[in-house]
């Protein structure tokens, strides 16, 4: 993570935020008449907005602790690869909840909200922000009631796993929350953050991509399409480059 607090990362963040500002006021989202030539604008692009370092943006301190503990049980650390917490999955979920995903951006949120069949899709008025807020609180509450007053993050790994397994199996019900579907959501989001581009705060230093052998944000395999059953030799690269591309660090991967 240190690499990204260096000058390159800061400059890029600045550029990205400037670009985002320009986009919101440019003509890209407003109606235009186009005739005579393709509508080109210099720097008219729409680059991704990087997750910022720093404190939680959505979670409270307690929620953040619970989320990190959850991330580390969904993806436990091992000798070769960090767990969900150190890989940044909780940060990823936090930034996603603070952003468009949490706000149900682009979703149809008009009433009425009627409970339907599962195959008709989610009909949730509160969206992911409410599901996490309620779910993490209910998880801590259930643990305190059953595990000697301890919150989820303070349990041993074995007890954490036992609690989660019981929620998954429907044996432990969380108060006021569908525990099973909350845990399924957390699994999905933590694993998504682990495998997404590091620009969004998870998959730190491309830990997950190195682990599975995915070469990342590359764009040309012409030389490799015909080379069958040979290991691809190049290391992964992300949209924010690779640690050794920055000038202010040791170059270690």
């Amino acid at each position: 993570m240190e690499a990204r607090s260096g000058p390159l990362f800061s400059r890029r963040s600045l550029l990205l935020s400037t670009a985002a500002l320009l986009i919101s006021t440019s003509s890209r989202s407003t109606a235009r008449t186009i005739a005579g030539a393709l509508p080109w604008e210099p720097n008219g692009g729409n680059p991704p907005v990087a997750a910022k370092l720093g404190p939680w943006e959505f979670f409270s301190v307690d929620e953040g602790r619970a989320m990190e503990a959850l991330a580390d049980r969904i993806i436990p650390p091992d000798a070769q690869t960090p767990g969900g917490k150190d890989a940044g999955s909780a940060v990823f979920v936090d930034r996603q909840l603070a952003g468009g995903y949490g706000a149900q951006e682009g979703h149809y949120v008009r009433p009425p909200f009627i409970k339907g069949m599962k195959n008709q899709g989610a009909q949730s008025e509160g969206g992911p922000r409410k599901e996490y807020r309620d779910g993490l609180a209910a998880l801590d509450k259930a643990c305190k009631a059953r595990e000697g007053g301890k919150s989820f993050a303070d349990l041993t790994d074995d007890r954490k796993d036992a609690v989660l397994k019981n929620i998954e199996d429907g044996k432990l019900e969380l108060e006021g929350v569908d525990g099973k579907s909350f845990f399924a959501l957390a699994i999905k989001d933590v694993q998504t953050g682990f495998l997404a581009d590091p620009i969004y705060g998870g998959n730190r230093d491309m830990a997950a991509w190195k682990m599975i052998g995915y070469p990342g944000a590359r764009y040309n395999y012409l030389d490799w399409v015909g080379r069958h059953n040979e290991p691809y030799p190049l290391p992964p690269v992300s949209m924010i480059g690779r640690a050794e591309w920055t000038t202010n660090n040791s170059g270690a991967r």
Partner: protein, 602 residues
Amino acid sequence: MDYEQFGSPVMARILPKKDVVIIGLGWTGSVMANELTDEGLDVIAIERGPWRDAPTDFPPSQMQDELRYRIRHELFLRPDQLTFTLRNKLDQQALPMRDWGAFMPPNGVGGGGVHWNAEMWRFLPSDFVLKTHLTQRYGADFLPADMTIQDWGITYDELEPYYDRFEYLCGTSGTAGNLRGQIMEGGNPFEGPRSRDYPTKAQAQPFSHTLFAKAARELGYKPFPQPSGNLSTAYTNPLGLRMGPCTYCGFCEWFGCSNYSKASPQTTILPVLVRKDNFTARDNSEVVKINTDRSGKHATGVTFVDSSGEAWEQPADLVILSAFSMFNAQLMLHSGIGQPYDPKTGEGRIGRNFTHQTISSVNGFFDKTKFNFNPFIGSGSIGMCIDEFNGDNFDHGPLGFVGGGYVGQVQTGARPIESALTPPGTPKWGAAWKTAIKDNYLSTVKPGTGVHGSFYAYRDIYLDLDPLYKDRFGRPLMRMTIDIKDNEAKQNRYLTDKFADIIKAMGATSLAKTYRTAPYDATTYQTTHLNGGVIMGADPKTSAVNRYLQSWDVSNLFVLGASAFPQNAGYNPTLTVGALAYWAADAIRNQYLKKPGPLVDA
């Protein structure tokens, strides 16, 4: 804002009249605009979404972003702008699709052509005369009682020159299987005769795709490369536009191509079209109504709303409705053109014979010490397929169903969020999950839409306006009533089992096999091949448009797209959609403009 007021002279400001107004600047709108501007007509295209192009919207520095484009759907229509409600049966409460799942409709210039895979399949000759063909071969009683399949009113031979035109526009890479009646080694022996070879040779195939072909061949099938709009080599199309060879980056399906290698309106038409003096486009402007005169039989133009909420009326002599298929049906209903379909009586034109695709897949897990697939190497329409089980290429008599599809290893890459898979029985989280994705990512075959089956039409599968839910303008949403019928479930089980046999023969140590079953599920992706609702045909009682895609009700209105399909075949729809657009354009240029009015007597 009250949509009922749109179109009233008080609300909408009136723009200068054009010869032609085109609703939607995707594939069919672009084809039609280019043809009609060549005819010298003054054409305006009105597009609901933004202008999109590679340098601004999908440059190579940012397109490899699975989270943004695939998971969060950035290039697609967003449901808050417009969505659908869904129910499986007539007596159910339909609920809105609040986020996309089963399909993801396009938005913006280029339409679905921006983020499609570019599979370039022709339908079989028998697909166009389906009802007649199946009835003759198996008898009318063989078909389910509620099945409402129809002939198209056009034959394969009539459409062949237009298939050829769209293939050459796109630079299609493939291996011919039937050249003017002669069966060619290495191609699809079941395809209809083609008048000439593909414009470019087939794409190179990665390891797993090649291995699938080998296993299929050993089982006695005739595998061939999937015809592809991702090009194997550089190509200059008939409009003089140049495309580059595909780099197999694996970000094609649901992504825009940064490399000018995927056929799209942007790469094959728009740079030429936009330079013409007699063409204008409006983006971020949504057509809310096709206006008609008092007789209701003549369109006077359209009303659209721009991004500031202002309504405009665009008068025109000829209206081309070329939005995505379901939006065509929706705009017809909102405009009061054509009698809405009623599933109880079976009468009415708009909304009938709504169909999708019947998709399933089989994932294969291989020994990682022997197989390294580098699965991230791919293209949108890469793949080796077999067609033995498509359409009526096999005897359905003993099987008790009709229809079929191609099956193949058509894996488009291995974006890790969706492609870090685990073998059946693996826990969904924890150390075992982590170890399993590590051990399997490089040695898993994940074909995606590996079983690509037909979806035939039924009396109670249709589109109409929802009585409860409204869009941002206060217009009723379109309601889908759709389910997986026994015929399609049987078809899918048969094909999936055949497909699994081939994956197993490739050497897989374990298989994850998923059948498509009822109820129709809004939450799992199945393709965005939604069809029907404004279907073509020879009989005005059971179709909305004639064989030239001209409205039976309003003769200066043509409705393009997969909305015209009377039912869906076991192939991807776009090549047929493109061919029909050229076919309709030809009819307008050579028949309609000489004598405006109905091209077929009702």
